[in-house]
């Protein structure tokens, strides 16, 4: 009998747990440790943030699903890993602090044979003074945040209906943020809502981003063919900004947010401010506060985690200049080298470096999007870890495990630009691979056949279909495992 502990119940962790529940024997055990009681389809938080969906439409309780699938569930926060056990434990174990209301604050320990770390990000609002719902801006990172953002947006629209001009700022709250695609989506959904409300002429909408140029999306931008020419996501995105009348500030590191004003530094070294009536600024991410100790109780956190708190896996973390970055730098199995029974997937693994070219302002401030590893790649990594753990349990740890590098992995993304079955629109994109491989695809680093972008109503239908499909899958309804990640 083996016990697999999955830390985190988001896209990567939940996917891993569900697949393990069908891959392992009944005598094996899968336990999910997550501080949250609900699963959240985060891509649809955008629509909660503009009032088009309710929290109940993007979340559901995890407990009943895990009970039905025979998966153990501890509503708790993992605080420390002991990969070698300790003086009183022969087996490796994790320390927990329960968030379950019936055991709130209680300390616990859980031994494991295999550990999948899918803890996702810590929303690091603290990196920028005044950033976030506890400060002076909104967020759509959780459904609760999105509900608050929606209420504030409604308030701004009501003011415009009374004839007041409003400045609505949407974007990234720090120079090292990731998920530019989500901020892009929210900016265009806000524009769509304001237009639908008939007050577009009173809204000044500004997209404030750490991207060097529009269309970067944290993946260094895309090149694709259109009507016989190669075009770029930069030109394509700028066209959309022009068409919809949204202003943009690029290469920006937000230094502080105060009531009604955001302050930022740009790559050219200038410091600027922007007054706003409504602001949705995403936080930077860092790894969750997880510690690690060896058998003697010595802290081995520096060995297991990168300085940003994400877990180091089978990547090449050697510091090297952008020109020397290679596809092979990226992890293939997501195993921790010293402890191959530990995997880190989704946002929890430490990328070897950015995907977009990193830049510094003339003052030395790093303004560089962090690599996205959410959505489809997260699900694929979760399933990969489950498949490999199941193989290791069945055939022994020496089994040849499967690999799925982001440099050999594609992604399909749909960025909403406005909701509505008849009047909605979205930018549909595919890219292959996510991490450019200039050796394999000289010039652009990606396959031109498999990288494309298109704007239209069909994209909205696809995003809506994905919403229902992935919630169906996450609820483990009949045939769920046939739906790809």
């Amino acid at each position: 009998m083996a016990r697999v502990v999955v830390l985190g119940g988001g896209i990567a962790g939940h996917t891993a747990a569900l697949h393990l529940s069908r891959m392992l024997k009944r005598s094996d055990e899968v336990v999910v440790v997550t501080p949250n009681s609900n699963w959240n389809w985060i891509p649809s938080n955008i629509w909660v943030g503009v009032g088009k969906m309710k929290t109940e439409q993007v979340t559901f309780a995890l407990g009943p699903i895990y009970k039905r699938r025979g998966i153990g569930y501890e509503q708790a926060l993992a605080t420390a890993i002991h990969p070698e056990g300790d003086a009183t434990h022969d087996s490796p174990f994790v320390e927990l602090t329960y968030t379950d209301p019936s055991r709130s604050g209680e300390h616990g320990e859980l031994t494991y044979d295999y550990l999948i770390n899918a803890t996702g990000p810590k929303l690091n609002f603290g990196a920028t003074p005044g950033l976030g719902p506890d400060g002076h801006s909104h967020s759509v990172c959780t459904s609760g945040h999105a509900v608050e953002a929606s209420a504030a947006l409604r308030d701004s629209i009501a003011r415009m209906k009374r004839g007041e001009r409003q400045t609505l700022v949407v974007g990234m709250g720090h120079g090292t943020c990731t998920c530019e695609g989500a901020a892009f989506e929210y900016a265009f959904n806000v524009e769509h809502e304001v237009r639908q409300a008939g007050v577009r002429d009173l809204a000044d909408i500004v997209y404030l981003t750490n991207e060097y140029e529009l269309g970067d999306f944290g993946v260094g931008g895309l090149t694709f063919t259109q009507q016989g020419f190669q075009t770029t996501s930069k030109l394509w995105t700028e066209s959309l900004f022009r068409e919809r009348g949204i202003r943009a500030v690029t290469g920006a590191h937000v230094t502080a947010v105060e009531e009604g004003a955001v302050h930022y530094e740009q790559l050219d070294g200038t410091f600027n401010s922007l007054a706003f009536d409504f602001a949705m600024l995403l936080p930077p991410f860092r790894g969750v506060d997880l510690k690690a100790f060896d058998r003697q109780g010595d802290d081995i956190g520096a060995e297991l985690f990168a300085p940003n708190g994400f877990m180091k896996v089978d990547a090449d973390y050697t510091a090297k200049p952008f020109e020397e970055w290679r596809a092979e730098d990226w992890p293939r199995t997501y195993q921790v080298p010293r402890f191959p029974n530990i995997f880190a997937v989704g946002i929890a693994f430490a990328p070897p470096h950015q995907i977009s070219e990193p830049r510094k302002s003339s003052n030395g401030t790093v303004i560089a999007p962090s690599p996205p590893r959410t959505g489809m790649p997260s699900g694929i990594m979760g399933k990969l870890a489950a498949t490999n753990v199941a193989a290791m349990i069945e055939q022994g740890d020496a089994v040849r495990v499967r690999s799925a590098s982001m440099a050999d992995m594609g992604a399909a993304c749909v960025a909403s630009a406005g909701s509505g079955l008849r009047h909605g629109s979205a930018a549909s994109m595919t890219m292959y691979p996510v991490v450019p491989d200039l050796q394999k695809y000289p010039g652009t680093g990606r396959s031109l056949k498999d990288t494309f972008g298109e704007i239209g109503l069909a994209g909205h239908w696809i995003k809506l279909a994905l919403h229902y499909m992935f919630i169906y899958k996450a609820k483990a309804r009949p045939g769920w495992h046939l739906i790809p990640e």
Binding site: L214, R422, S425, T430, A458
Partner: protein, 48 residues
């Protein structure tokens, strides 16, 4: 110097015909199928 405002101002605008196509039910139904096929191709690469 941030050139983004100038870049946006000089970006190509879609023609009225393109805008109509982007919201035409008939055209978009065809695009829905075509985009799904493109995405399915990417997904197949992951699962084989």
């Amino acid at each position: 110097m941030d050139h983004t405002a100038d870049d946006i101002a000089s970006a190509p605008l879609p023609t009225p015909a393109t805008l109509r196509a982007r919201s035409s039910l008939l055209v978009q139904l065809e695009r829905f199928l075509a985009i799904n096929l493109k995405m399915a191709k990417i997904i197949r690469k992951e699962h084989h």
